[in-house]
């Protein structure tokens, strides 16, 4: 039986698309029974979905610097 303690690691393998069939079934069954782990998985999914945006946008100076070097390079 999968325990709650095992769920965080299994959930990540699932989200990375690497969890095999048997382990996926075991995880799904645990999630069906366990609200805490369901909440854990849905919030982990939310968090990982936010990671690409955590860096914010570059400043005007940073953008200009990249474009300037680009133009120097192409001339």
């Amino acid at each position: 039986m999968l325990r709650c303690r095992d769920v965080p690691a299994e959930a990540e393998v699932l989200l990375d698309g690497e969890l095999g069939f048997g382990r996926r079934v075991a995880l799904r069954f645990h999630l069906f029974m366990c609200g805490n782990c369901r909440r854990y998985l849905s919030q982990l999914r939310l968090l990982l979905g936010a990671v690409p945006q955590m860096h914010g946008q570059a400043s005007d100076e940073e953008v200009d610097q990249v474009l300037e070097r680009l133009h120097d390079h192409s001339h």
């Binding site: 325990r3 709650c4 965080p8 805490n36 968090l47 690409p52 955590m54 860096h55 474009l67």
Partner: protein
């Protein structure tokens, strides 16, 4: 914004060589690419590596097929440039020791019978966007990212920020799948614990 979903009309403009579209691309992804290069080549070389990557990307954009997200495609170019830079500098080690060390995450959140003793609280945020609209939380997350060991940081950037498939991340960084699992799990768990604490207490 800098999500992993690309706009098709934006892509068409980029392929046709539209300069304003290219500037928007730089604005959206430059910081993420720096964050990827830094743990691999170090702070002082990261800007140069990313700059060269932008020049190469600009030349290659017309052939971009859109099979991967732009961010993923850009991060592959950065990794190639980082590798070349290290080769020129005759540095053999791509990243320092990839072995995970010390106690794992969440050890204090489970009872001895394996059930949660401190289960996650119910977060107010219901989307990735709403998670980051709270400035204080966004700042705390940025500080935590910067404090991660460079091997954890590089893995997290490639996998979760840049959307590179897990197998490819392991190959790129020369790390075994089992070590990568443990290291990624540590990095993600620290982010999770920080948000969970913030949702519960209103501070980091």
């Amino acid at each position: 914004m800098s999500s992993l979903h690309d706009d098709t009309s934006e892509l068409a403009q980029l392929r046709s060589g539209d300069e304003a579209a290219f500037a928007r691309l730089v604005r959206a992804h430059h910081r993420a690419l720096l964050a990827l290069a830094r743990p691999i080549v170090g702070e002082s070389e990261a800007a140069e590596v990313v700059q060269i990557a932008w020049i190469k990307a600009h030349a290659a954009l017309k052939d971009f097929e859109g099979r991967a997200a732009l961010r993923t495609w850009l991060s592959r170019i950065v990794i190639n440039e980082a590798r070349m830079m290290l080769r020129q500098r005759k540095r053999e080690v791509f990243l320092e020791d990839m072995q995970p060390q010390g106690a794992g995450p969440f050890v204090d959140r489970f009872r001895s019978d394996g059930h949660w003793s401190a289960p996650p609280v119910n977060w107010h945020a219901d989307s990735p966007d709403s998670l980051l609209t709270r400035e204080e939380l966004a700042d705390c997350l940025a500080t935590l990212l910067d404090s991660l060991p460079s091997n954890q940081r590089a893995l997290l950037e490639l996998r979760d920020s840049d959307g590179v498939p897990f197998d490819e991340v392991c190959n790129m960084l020369g790390v075994s799948a089992s070590n990568a699992r443990v290291l990624l799990h540590r990095a993600r768990s620290r982010l999770f614990a920080l948000v969970d604490h913030f949702e519960e207490t209103g501070e980091c």
